[in-house]
């Protein structure tokens, strides 16, 4: 019995219509994926989230009511069909269902705006997202979303079994937290507010309550970037640890990535097969490449853009393509990083920060590092980066009255899913993505 499903509408899944269940009575529920009408013989393909099955009706073998009911069906209509499983070695699926009763829940209107009968034929990308509430019926989309659910569960399991506490940070904020990337403005009962572009300050504050924290939390950036790795609304795997350094948070990321890949390889086998994706579990530890060295490697790859101060999107992508395993870029210069990154005591121009990079051209996954815990250094950094000290009142006050040294990172959840599922664009890792061009459905 399916838990929490009405047994008068559905007791089994499409995938239960298989040769092992020969002779069994089942009640399946789902959408009409295909109708092949051959006069006195009719084949229906029923789709539910578990897969598809075939219902075969010979007019002479089914009741008149069942025959007439099925004659009314259109593509994407929703039905419950009761009948007996019949193993059939000639059928691709190994079995078919002979119906003895049919409930029509909805007769779908004809002319579905997108063709859901041949889903492996790639649709125009604009159509996919304009009719996203329909295009998510594609089993490839379901496979990606199932992988996403598996990655989320694995992430939390990893943190839980290593003694981390889950946190929930606020999203409506009064002022610019970090500056830099753009924020969405909103009206908070007549007062100006913004949507959080990260939970940075709040996850640091949470170390007053907990020793080690994590969260899977949404963020927003109002950037008009038309790239394959940016959305305006996205989730981050967030992490912060008291009394930790940049060294420990690299280890956490290595262990986390290995744990997630191991879990996905085990629990996501069907989804990976559906997507024709093969993954291998990354070998730890990952390579650590200082910023200067990374820049030289990019120049050696012939990307001229890397002569600029930062090495840019093209450089990052080229570098990522040249790797088969994830790697870290370390020792970013102070002026290229957020003001909350601690600098190296022996070389104050350089931060104790790092980015985790995916291989195969997928590029940056996470940013993190050791944080500044000294109030005076932090105040100086805020001034040097051109911000107003008065915008950081509570954040600075927290440090004036004692915060431990700490480190942490934020890892792009959809970026990770994109890499695992091998998606050409990050928006495919979201059921209802938000980009500068898409904000509906």
């Amino acid at each position: 019995m399916l838990y929490a499903v009405n047994p008068e509408w559905r007791t089994h899944s499409s995938q239960d219509v298989n040769s092992q269940n020969d002779g069994k009575e089942v009640l399946i529920g789902g959408w009409i994926q295909q109708i092949r009408d051959k006069g006195r013989l009719m084949f229906l393909t029923i789709r539910d989230p578990s897969g598809i099955c075939q219902v075969t009706l010979h007019q002479k073998n089914v009741s008149e009511v069942v025959w007439e009911t099925c004659k009314k069906l259109t593509l994407e209509s929703v039905v419950s069909i009761h009948g007996k499983v019949k193993a059939d070695s000639r059928s691709k699926l190994g079995a078919e269902l002979t119906p003895d009763s049919v409930i029509i829940h909805v007769v779908a209107e004809p002319k579905v705006p997108i063709d859901l009968t041949k889903m492996k034929t790639k649709m125009e990308i604009d159509t996919v997202f304009a009719y996203r509430e329909l295009s998510i019926r594609d089993p490839d989309v379901a496979a990606v979303m199932n992988l996403k659910s598996i990655v989320a569960q694995a992430t939390r399991k990893f943190f839980k079994q290593n003694g981390f506490t889950e946190i929930f940070t606020p999203f409506i904020l009064t002022a610019s937290t970090e500056g830099g990337a753009e924020q969405f403005s909103l009206d908070y009962f007549g007062k100006p507010a913004v949507l959080a572009q990260s939970c940075q300050f709040y996850k640091q504050a949470a170390l007053s309550c907990h020793e080690k924290v994590f969260g899977l939390l949404p963020s927003w950036r109002a950037e008009k970037s038309h790239t394959t790795k940016h959305m305006t609304e996205f989730w981050q795997i967030e992490n912060e640890i008291a009394f930790a350094t940049d060294k420990e948070i690299m280890q956490v990321q290595e262990d986390l990535i290995a744990f997630i890949f191991t879990t996905v390889a085990r629990d996501g086998e069907d989804q990976l097969a559906q997507l024709d994706r093969t993954i291998s579990i990354p070998k730890t530890p990952f390579k650590k490449i200082p910023f200067k060295g990374a820049k030289q490697m990019i120049l050696d790859l012939g990307v001229e853009e890397a002569q600029e101060e930062d090495f840019g999107a093209t450089g990052e992508s080229a570098l990522s393509k040249s790797f088969k395993e994830p790697f870290f870029i370390t020792e970013f210069p102070v002026h290229l990083r957020g003001m909350y990154y601690a600098s190296n005591p022996t070389n104050p121009e350089v931060t104790r920060s790092l980015d985790l990079m995916a291989p195969e051209g997928f590029g940056e996954l996470s940013s993190g590092g050791q944080r500044v815990a000294d109030y005076k250094v932090l105040e100086e950094r805020i001034i040097n980066q051109g911000f107003e000290v008065s915008n950081f009142e509570w954040y600075l006050r927290m440090f004036r009255f004692g915060m431990p040294p700490h480190a942490g990172f934020g890892l792009g959840f959809e970026r990770l899913v994109r890499w695992i599922a091998n998606l050409s664009h990050i928006r495919e890792a979201s059921m209802f993505p938000r980009t500068p061009d898409i904000y509906s459905p």
Copy 2:
């Protein structure tokens, strides 16, 4: 060894300074909670998220460096202290630490704005939230936040083991989803948008990908309600099931609540003790009271407000106070519910919807029910409730091209935590709450 913590700063927790560890060398890290300076004898209380421990310094027994270093300490300074655990039956904590080396990470400024030395003395509520980044150092707050983390994990475990898939829905939306409660407006690259007040439409859509879905997701309501059970930013335990009815989702809620309480009773014992809270596991099934009967019960309790059409906040609270176990209110009239609730085929004035109510006066926890799956009924409802059909384009299109019958509910996450932790106000269930008056820190 603590996972992912720098062993030069911290190898043990305060709670490891106990009589079982007599003679053991430990390195603890934390805040100075108390200083008692008795001339040649000094007692320091060190607080970390695991609890407190006592460090005892006799001037004659410690090095001059250690003595002079500790003399510099102020309340809330952050230190790492290495030393030997000494069991001491006279001490309240059963043991103390004799230090042989001390690292000062931060000397806190004197005059901490709130008194963190006597945290059981309740502070003024305005002070608590004005200095929330400091008041969360109170172990009572940590206990609540730890319970919240346990409830989140239990929720996801329950859904996972019952075959549900986790979903992530969008938060920036184009138009009013349900109408009714107010929404926060924001500017989406020059176009008007709103923050999601629920994921209702999107969790319904997700049933195109998955059979049964859940999510722990934030929502926002721009209501200026000054009540003990409303925040403008809150999380909901969201759920939707294809081929289910109102009956099944009542069972899911009963099982979920029982599972969460069982988990909290086992994993949250220390936190419940810290809060002086005793919980008992609710007995299932819960009572089901039709709306009309609930109204009569409230009138019998002497709440005159219940003579109004809906029975209001006072009525709800009075009814909840009269119960010792959670219960459902069912059969709400169509005109008092969202337009997406299916009506009873035998009595079309009444919906197949329900609210889950907590006992002890905590009131409404969830709303849910059977949804309308028929396109024409839905369109009629939208018109009857005074909305513009054109605002529901993609939502209606989804039903035009076939959606299965389905049911679901949304359960207030902080409301549940408030009940479990016995908090007087819902904002105490949030580390950084958002109410009409609070939006910083």
